[in-house]
Symmetry: C2
Subunit: 407 residues, 2 copies
């Protein structure tokens, strides 16, 4: 007998039929003796419908009232799922975030969970009930309804699992797990049976949007075993583990990529203390997020070159700011290119294996792909290449590291 | 400066435009210095949409979960109305029933209010805020969401007014007050400036469905001055008062009628103690509500006749039960008629004025209307007539008592 927290997203509960299918899935776990807590999102489309109503009234509605409004979406789902469970003779009880005291700060629309009172949930579980909890929402110390921001239901599930010391937190989505890379790019991409939290964080932030990144951080912090599964297909999904648990570690877990990058270079700036801040400061102060930053060693002229990447939507603004900075600093030139992509190898195994980088560069070179930028961290190597090489590059790396094969 | 509780029903908040119009109305009161609490229903159609979703899952869903589901309707409205108020620079704050501790019993879908904690509302009012409260819903001692049943928003408003010792509770509807009778039947029916609580109770229970009857009882119990007004037109509406306040009292306030009546008579039953119970008992135990009951004096045979009315939807079932009872009691015959209606004169003034009944019977006789049954109470006289005479009878009485004229 295990205590399992399951989370079903908006697509998984998008209709009455799907809610009934979720009920059957939940009951199967309960029938084999598990205790089950289910966290659900709003039915797909519902949150947008509610936001639409609000925007008809005010294009900048009060965040407090927005939370009162959109939190009704999950409340509808918990009631319907509880009914569906009871209909098939599975005793169930629904709770809003406030009712199980998911205490958050007061940052409406992006609140953070501080505490959960698990006593009430435990008492229901001990009576053999399935407990159905509204995801995405909580309550602040004044009793006001808060929400955790889009995708926050994942965080609710993980926090609930942590508070209950659950054996596993299962996140049901429309994909059946985490893949070595996007199967639309590499048809023989392989589902990973397990991946470490750190790798998952790198994969998520690099564009493999299976799980909300805050939920992953939360799970790591509280040692909650997390599993990603499909709502619609059978299967074991992907278990997200702590590194220590894995005896044998694959060198590379997967290949992430990001199509939304743009690159800016400022040439011939004086190589002095504070130059990086002078360049990046004006960009950041306009709320433009900077991703990769590379500064190479100085030329013998006492001048250096400085390159960074931003999201493509910020490209034009960033370029204008940088051109002004270049003027002020007396830099030689600004180069700008928004037709580039980033490809990253991710794997905790690369820590202890030399030669990953050179093997990566070799594989890309063999297919004639020129590398524009390189950046490395403990568990990933990212390269920037011309946009047109994205698919070719990802496939070349997938082949070179034989990711289609089981470890 | 007055403290006013306003209640807007589903039609009054049926669209974003209407919600904005309500906000303007509320702000006008706030701007003249009043403190305003607004109680709102779900947007029209929303409750039925939610019930529809539930019925797709289970035709007898759990009452607890039904309340979790349908209570989202009012929650959407409080958020949208608060946004609309803030949009026009009127500080406002929304609360669900649970958030202002509208404590009820645990009778889901028909809960009764036990207590309201007014402190939180008062604190907001003192800060110059309009407080927007979800009608129709509360919370039981375990923290479960309850609802008061259809129309319960009226009750919420009155209970809130009682708890806050408000100066007036205003119920906004799609009619502009209480009329002497239905204007669709009598075109020159007149809006009453005031009506007593007792009269209002008789009018409501007799089919003039302007206010929920429980709300009126509640208002009477706690001495809450209640006013019925139109959401869509300007006007003073009708004030529902305590009798003592009225110096001069009209004899008759209005004419109520009920088209849903059906009549059953059992002839020649032994005139013995307990006979009424033997006849009505089996009907009541099937949850059929009995309205008028008439037993005339005994014939010299030691047998009597017994007549009562039920709602037409229960007519067939009641007739079958009565026929079985007649068999068992050795009664002579059962007569049944579902083509009848009830017309009632209502007025506290009739207590002190003789001759009302005879004037009523005379007016009906003059138009050739045969009276089938008569029943009287302190402040009303009801007659049952053939269905076809409804409009004719109501108009005859309205004319005879000159209800179109101001008192």
């Amino acid at each position: 007998m295990a205590l399992i927290v399951q989370k079903y997203g908006g697509t998984s509960v998008g209709s009455v039929e799907r809610i009934s299918a979720v009920a059957e899935k939940v009951k199967a776990y309960r029938d084999r003796g598990d205790q089950v807590v289910v966290v659900v999102s709003a039915m797909s489309g519902e949150t947008n419908r509610l936001i639409g109503l609000a925007s008809e009234i005010d294009d900048r509605p009060s965040p407090r009232e927005m939370d009162v409004l959109v939190s009704t979406g999950e409340q509808v789902t918990i009631a319907l799922l509880s009914m569906a469970l009871q209909k098939i003779d599975c005793d169930a009880r629904s709770y809003t975030g406030g009712q199980v005291h998911i205490l958050t700060d007061s940052a409406h629309s992006k609140a953070r969970i501080r505490d959960i009172d698990a006593a009430r949930v435990k008492s229901d579980l001990d009576k053999g009930r399935v407990v159905v909890v509204a995801g995405f929402q909580g309550v602040d110390e004044h009793g006001s309804i808060t929400t955790l921001g889009r995708g926050g239901s994942d965080t609710t599930a993980v926090a609930m699992a942590a508070a209950l010391k659950a054996d596993e937190c299962q996140i049901y989505t429309d994909v059946d797990g985490v893949y070595t890379t996007d199967p639309r790019v590499v048809p023989n991409a392989r589902r990973l049976e397990r991946i470490t939290f750190e790798e998952m964080l790198e994969m998520a932030s690099l564009g493999s949007k299976v799980l909300q990144i805050r939920a992953v951080e939360f799970a790591g912090k509280y040692n909650v075993p997390l599993r990603v599964l499909s709502s619609f297909e059978e299967g074991e999904g992907t278990l997200i583990t702590f590194e220590e648990e894995s005896m044998e570690q694959a060198m590379i877990s997967g290949i992430a990529f990001n199509r939304d990058e743009a690159k800016l270079t400022i040439l011939g700036v004086p190589d002095q203390p504070g130059v990086a801040h002078k360049i990046i400061g004006p960009i950041s102060s306009q709320n433009i997020e900077v991703d990769m930053i590379i500064q190479n060693i100085s030329h013998d002229t006492g001048r250096t070159d400085f390159t960074f990447t931003v999201n493509r939507v910020d490209f034009k603004r960033a370029k204008e700011i940088l051109e002004q900075t270049a003027n002020e600093m007396g830099a030689r030139e600004v180069l700008a290119d928004d037709r580039i992509v980033k490809i990253s190898l991710v794997g905790v195994g690369m820590r202890s294996h030399a030669g990953i980088a050179s093997k990566m560069f070799e594989a890309l070179a063999k297919d004639g792909i020129n590398i524009r930028m390189i950046s490395t961290s403990e568990i990933k190597i990212s390269v920037v290449v011309d946009e047109k090489y994205l698919e070719l590059g990802v496939r070349a790396l997938h082949d070179a590291f034989e990711l289609e094969k089981e470890v």
